[in-house]
């Protein structure tokens, strides 16, 4: 059964008349890695924003576990059900890497008693050592911030992991490590992983590949 379904979703920005998304429909299942590819400006990031519950679609519906997002508590949905890896990282820059993770766990009401310990473990998993974890995000490189963003997305054990160019700023070794983590989460832990990318290497690990062109989404593989 599909965990996330998109039914005839259209979207246009208030400042324009043109639809960025045109009656898009898709199904994303648990235990699979879904990749969405397409040119810049084709509407990929907009679709991710709608799936993430950060914005409302103009038309159509997005259902999570059979329930339309428009009817559920989207704050709770963002906090507990999905983990988003943003292209622009969107971390609290004045806080340390570990504080970002702990805060995310607090917001999602994770029941871990020692949240800080779990946060260090997650950061270690994505290649951030303790010393780096205790530094302010502002002082980390782009690649390190990307990995902190990934660790944060995984911190509350969400059902859906959404990633917008998750490996764009990473070296080859780290890229492979991150892809391995994401595929493992899908295949071994039953998570629904949705990745937006231009990278053919990332697409090669996908179970499903979707193509986005001029606001239309089609299943490629």
């Amino acid at each position: 059964m599909s965990l996330l379904t998109i039914e005839n979703v259209s979207y246009k920005y208030s400042s324009t008349t043109k639809n960025v998304l045109k009656k898009v429909s898709a199904e994303f299942k648990s235990g699979k890695v879904h990749v969405i590819m397409g040119k810049s400006g084709s509407g990929k990031t907009t679709l991710l924003s709608l799936i993430s519950g950060l914005d409302n679609c103009t038309d159509g519906a997005i259902n999570f576990d059979g329930n339309p997002l428009s009817k559920i508590d989207r704050d709770k949905y963002r906090a507990e059900s999905i983990g988003v890896i943003f292209q622009g990282y969107n971390l609290l820059t004045n806080a340390t890497a570990v504080e970002n993770i702990v805060l995310s766990m607090c917001i999602s009401k994770t029941k871990e008693k020692n949240k800080k310990k779990v946060a260090y473990m997650l950061l270690e998993k994505v290649g951030i050592n303790k010393e780096t974890a205790d530094r302010k995000v502002l002082k980390l490189s782009g690649g390190e911030q990307q990995r902190v963003g990934i660790a944060r997305a995984l911190s509350h054990n969400p059902d859906i992991i959404i990633a917008d160019e998750p490996t764009g700023n990473l070296d080859t070794d780290t890229e492979e490590n991150i892809l391995s983590i994401l595929t493992s989460l899908a295949h071994n832990e039953g998570k629904c992983v949705i990745i937006v990318t231009h990278s053919k290497k990332v697409a090669s690990v996908a179970d499903e590949v979707w193509g986005m062109k001029d606001g239309n989404l089609t299943l490629v593989k």
Partner: protein, 470 residues
């Protein structure tokens, strides 16, 4: 709980912005605290003077009414008995009565006796009065009998200018005390009986008094005793009880009474006046409080209270505007943070609570510091204020020359409280009310400082905030 912890951490994470905010909040709280303390102090001074000026009542002659011939023809001086009767009222807290009788004891000498006394006496003897009658033939006045019903109101004994140095204060009828100088001049001692006579030449009235005490008298210290008459030399004053004075035969003719009436509450003035009218007080007498004196002494304090109130309002308005401006600028810097928190699923209310908590923590720290510093500076401010009031009161006394105002009840009537000693010290402390006011204002400031952020949170969706940043 994590929101509070995160808010406290956030204060340290944004030291520059929060320090600037704290300085402004501290300045506002300190100014507010000092203003409120000044207000409390001035209110206390005003209340004190109001009660003293408003509670002391005097009966004055309305000279404007006396310009009418009909009124002038029917004019009658207040009799001593009337003045005593006016003091018998449930509306009064206390009454001070002072009886004075000019005397000329024939068997006793007086200090400062001179030819001037004879000259004055001859001048007055047989002179034609305003009503056409003749003054009786008199001998020189050589002293006075002074009688008070309330010894505690005697300022000379109160401030130590006079002091019993032998025997004791009179207690019974026909007892008296005399000055050390007078006793030495006449070789008098405790237990002796003296005869005092009225100053009428042909039919003097005589009264016997027993001396129960000798008092040291420094009232004439510094005066040139050679240039004054014996009537003016206060060493000649024979002090006795009020009841003794009014029982003397000579009092009936030439005795005078002056009175001070103190109301239980300043608001009872009109009720007391009504009562006096019912007791026969003529219309050409006014029942008044010392409004002019009150305004003279308290006016500057009231002015100061108005200035501090205005100052407080201006500080609060300007301070609030600065805080709103600063928090608006700060929120432009913080909107990314708000967007991230919202994207992570934090509810609007919790983000707002976090912002408010940050500001509250800063405000509470500033409040404690502001209250401490405010309390430390409040006492010097109050002392300074009080010393100004004392100077003002002293100036007021000097302008009176220490004499009673014309028209008051009886010659030698005590002046109003404008010549009373003003407050000599005022212990300022932060009252519960003042603290409550300051805390309330501080909380409002914290609210104002957070309002821009809270409005921003409720206005925008996280995607808009983040996309603006990106």
């Amino acid at each position: 709980m994590y929101i509070i912890a995160n808010a406290i951490k956030n204060i340290g994470r944004n030291k520059g912005r929060n320090t600037l905010m704290a300085i402004i909040v501290f300045a506002i709280i300190l100014t507010t605290a000092v203003s409120i303390i000044i207000n409390t102090t001035t209110s206390a001074i005003i209340a004190d003077y109001k009660s003293r000026f408003g509670a002391e009542v005097s009966i004055e002659t309305n000279f404007e009414m006396l310009q009418s011939k009909n009124v002038a023809e029917g004019y009658k001086k207040l009799t001593p008995q009337q003045q005593i009767d006016f003091g018998r009222s449930d509306l009064l807290q206390s009454v001070n009565l002072l009886a004075t009788i000019d005397i000329s004891p024939r068997k006793l000498s007086s200090l400062s006796e001179s030819e001037m006394d004879n000259f004055i006496s001859n001048f007055l003897s047989g002179a034609i009065r305003a009503d056409g009658t003749k003054n009786p033939e008199t001998v020189p006045i050589k002293g006075r009998i002074i009688a008070m019903d309330n010894l505690e109101a005697d300022r000379d004994f109160k401030n130590g200018t006079r002091k019993i140095i032998g025997g004791e204060m009179y207690n019974n009828l026909n007892e008296c005390i005399v000055s050390q100088q007078y006793a030495e001049l006449n070789n008098l001692s405790v237990g002796d009986t003296i005869e005092v006579d009225s100053y009428f030449k042909n039919d003097p009235m005589t009264h016997s008094l027993t001396i129960t005490g000798i008092y040291m008298d420094n009232t004439m210290l510094g005066s040139n005793l050679e240039s004054i008459s014996s009537m003016e030399n206060r060493n000649n004053e024979i002090l006795t009880g009020f009841d003794t004075a009014i029982s003397m035969e000579m009092f009936t003719g030439e005795g005078r009474v002056s009175a001070q009436y103190f109301l239980k509450d300043p608001t009872l003035l009109s009720a007391y006046e009504k009562e006096l009218r019912e007791k026969g007080l003529a219309d050409y007498y006014n029942v008044v409080t010392d409004e002019a004196g009150y305004k003279k002494v308290v006016g500057p304090v009231e002015g100061l209270a108005k200035v501090t109130n205005t100052f407080l309002i201006v500080v609060l308005i300007l301070g609030s505007m600065v805080l709103i401006l600063l928090s608006t600028l700060a929120i432009r810097e913080r909107k990314y943070e708000i967007g991230v928190l919202r994207a992570m699923g934090m509810k609007k209310g919790k983000v707002a609570f976090g912002l408010l908590t940050e500001m509250l923590v800063i405000t509470v720290l500033c409040l404690m510091l502001g209250l401490g510093v405010g309390l430390a500076v409040s006492q010097p401010v109050a002392d300074n204020l009080l010393s100004n009031q004392i100077e003002l009161a002293a100036e007021s006394n000097n302008s009176n020359g220490g004499l009673s105002t014309t028209g008051r009840t009886g010659i030698g009537a005590p002046t109003f409280s404008s010549d009373a000693k003003p407050l000599s010290e005022l212990q300022v402390s932060l009252s519960g009310d003042a603290i409550t006011q300051i805390i309330f204002i501080s909380l409002v400031l914290a609210g104002i400082s957070s309002i821009a952020g809270i409005m921003y949170i409720t206005k925008y969706e996280p995607i808009k905030i983040l996309s603006e940043r990106n």
